[in-house]
């Protein structure tokens, strides 16, 4: 009996949802005079406001979720992988389509949560749209989100990783608040360069090398998988101080405890720029 109750309850909810869907569709395609809004000629004001022609809603069920486990070859590449930003970060308020350009083609969807809330750095803006870095392969993958579907915040932080000097630097409001020797990827499994971001803050009891793991949006270019994961690069601690200053890891950046403490206070979505200097 309880199974039947569940099904009827679900059906009831579906009824209401369908009523909303039908009514909302009619609301959008018709203005108050009953004309088809999608065929209305666009005005200069529309173009200035970024009101692109109406497109059919993206079918989220058919789109791949842009998580750390995904590969999105159709994602436009980051054209300026060493550039800083003004610190703008966004949190999707719901599952959102990712577009290859404003009002363009949807190639993936962004879930509001993966390692907790999803926060992404903004690397470009147009009226009503934000371009964000993605946490999926390939490195440097980007996509456009509608600004109406995100919460905007600012991160005063910037993290820089210098592979040549094997150091990590944390900047706050433009000034350095510390620099530490770190372990970076070995020549066979190098840490990828370019800009990425803090994707999560995870207490993972399955490992013993760090009290906390800070996954980034980037992935190893030489390891498709590692430890059961998709080769996600991360910032984390390491129990042996002798590794700091070495190129010895499988791609992750191993940092001293003091640096890790500071990094745990850095908002998710904060830009992390890795260079060869």
């Amino acid at each position: 009996m309880s199974r039947i109750m569940t099904l009827i309850s679900k059906t009831l909810v579906l009824l209401v949802a369908m009523a909303l869907a039908v009514a909302t569709v009619l609301l959008v395609v018709s203005d108050s005079d009953g004309r088809d809004r999608s065929t209305r000629e666009r005005t200069p004001a529309d173009r200035q406001l970024g009101n692109e022609p109406a497109r059919a809603p993206a079918d989220l069920r058919r789109l791949v979720a842009a998580t750390t486990a995904a590969s999105l070859p159709a994602a436009p590449a980051d054209a300026t992988p060493q550039a800083t930003t003004d610190g703008l970060v966004v949190r999707p308020l719901r599952v959102l389509p990712l577009y290859d350009k404003p009002a363009g083609r949807a190639f993936a969807k962004m879930p509001p949560q993966q390692f907790g809330d999803t926060w992404l750095p903004v690397i470009g803006q147009r009226s009503g749209w934000v371009r964000v870095l993605l946490p999926s392969r390939p490195n440097g993958a980007t996509g456009w989100l509608r600004e109406s579907g995100v919460e905007l915040r600012t991160s005063p932080y910037l993290v820089r990783v210098h592979l040549g000097s094997r150091t990590l630097e944390i900047n706050y409001e433009g000034g350095s608040i510390g620099s530490w020797p770190v372990a970076v990827g070995s020549p066979d499994t190098p840490t990828p360069t370019g800009r990425t971001f803090l994707l999560g803050s995870v207490l993972d009891d399955a490992q013993s090398f760090s009290p906390i793991i800070l996954p980034l949006g980037s992935h190893s270019d030489t390891l498709d998988t590692y430890g059961g994961g998709p080769g996600t690069v991360a910032l984390h601690g390491w129990p042996e101080a002798s590794v700091f200053g070495s190129a010895i890891s499988h791609g992750c950046i191993r940092v001293p405890a003091d640096a890790l403490d500071r990094l745990t206070q850095v908002p998710l979505g904060t830009l992390v720029i890795v260079d060869n200097s």
Partner: protein, 288 residues
């Protein structure tokens, strides 16, 4: 007007009771503006139903008003006595006795088909093998308290008799914010004349009922921080696609910054600082 029907139908999603507690957000320093409104509908970049009725306080004094759901949100929506207040970093809105209008007059063919399916399930309640009933939605992302057998039978009897005229009724919907804390309460809601309203309890902030629906999203207890530091709690939000249309029912905002001098050109304001992350217990296999 179809505009009216969406505004009315929005409320029908609230088919249960929920107590929702907000997580901390941001609030800004005084002077701040607190505000509340009953319903707003935007579509195609235009306000189909502007926020109404509404109230605001910009000096910390408590401002109150009342009213009804505006006629633009009808004719499907009727009743709906509203009480709103806004004061010193707090605001609240209460909607009572909401009724969603005549079912027969408004039911689209797609809904009628689903209703027939539901009636068939009720007709075969006593003897229908469970396996023959479709699992339409899969697992819902919220806890749904099951009705008792007696309540279910009462609901089915009403459904089979056609003894209902309203899509849904809601006794009370309350949304409030105090600083960076918000609460949303939905009580006494029923749908299709059901005597067994669904109960939704312990729903998390920003809960989506249909996260993968390509056509619409339905969000309970949406929380957000505005560009001036205001903390907003929306009781129920329904959006089409990627935001072409959005309806908000019962919204409050606390701690919104006020431009210093009227008449001054407003400078672009930077979004508030992003929060430090809250570590999540879980698995994060990384390259080490």
């Amino acid at each position: 007007m179809r505009h009216d029907s969406i505004a009315a139908t929005v409320v029908a999603v609230m088919v249960g009771s929920a107590l929702l507690v907000a997580t901390p957000g941001a609030s800004s320093a005084a002077p701040t503006r607190s505000s509340a409104y009953g319903i707003a509908v935007n579509a195609g970049g235009q306000e189909v139903v502007p926020p109404s009725p509404s109230v605001e306080s910009t000096d910390g004094s408590t401002q109150s008003t009342g009213g009804e759901i505006p006629p633009e949100a009808g004719p499907l929506l009727s009743g709906g006595v509203l009480e709103l207040s806004a004061g010193d970093d707090e605001a609240r809105v209460s909607v009572t006795n909401l009724t969603i209008g005549n079912l027969a007059a408004s039911l689209p063919p797609e809904l009628r088909e689903q209703l027939d399916q539901l009636q068939a399930a009720c007709a075969g309640l006593e003897q229908a093998p469970v396996e023959e009933l479709p699992d339409i939605l899969g697992e819902l992302p919220v806890v749904v308290e099951q009705p008792t057998e007696e309540e279910l039978i009462e609901f089915c009897n009403g459904l089979l008799d056609g003894d209902f005229a309203n899509l849904a009724t809601i006794d009370t919907l309350q949304v409030a914010c105090t600083g960076d804390i918000g609460t949303v309460t939905v009580l006494g809601a029923s749908a299709l004349g059901s005597g067994a309203p669904l109960d939704l309890e312990n729903v998390e902030p920003n809960t989506e009922l249909f996260p993968d629906n390509p056509l619409l999203s339905v969000t309970l207890n949406r929380q957000s921080n505005g560009p001036r530091g205001g903390f907003t709690v929306d009781g129920l939000v329904v959006s089409l696609g990627e935001g072409e249309a959005e309806a908000v029912v019962a919204s409050t905002t606390c701690g919104e910054g006020i431009p210093q001098a009227a008449g001054d050109s407003e400078e672009p304001t930077e979004p508030p600082i992003a929060p430090a992350p809250t570590p999540q217990v879980g698995s994060a296999p990384v390259t080490g």
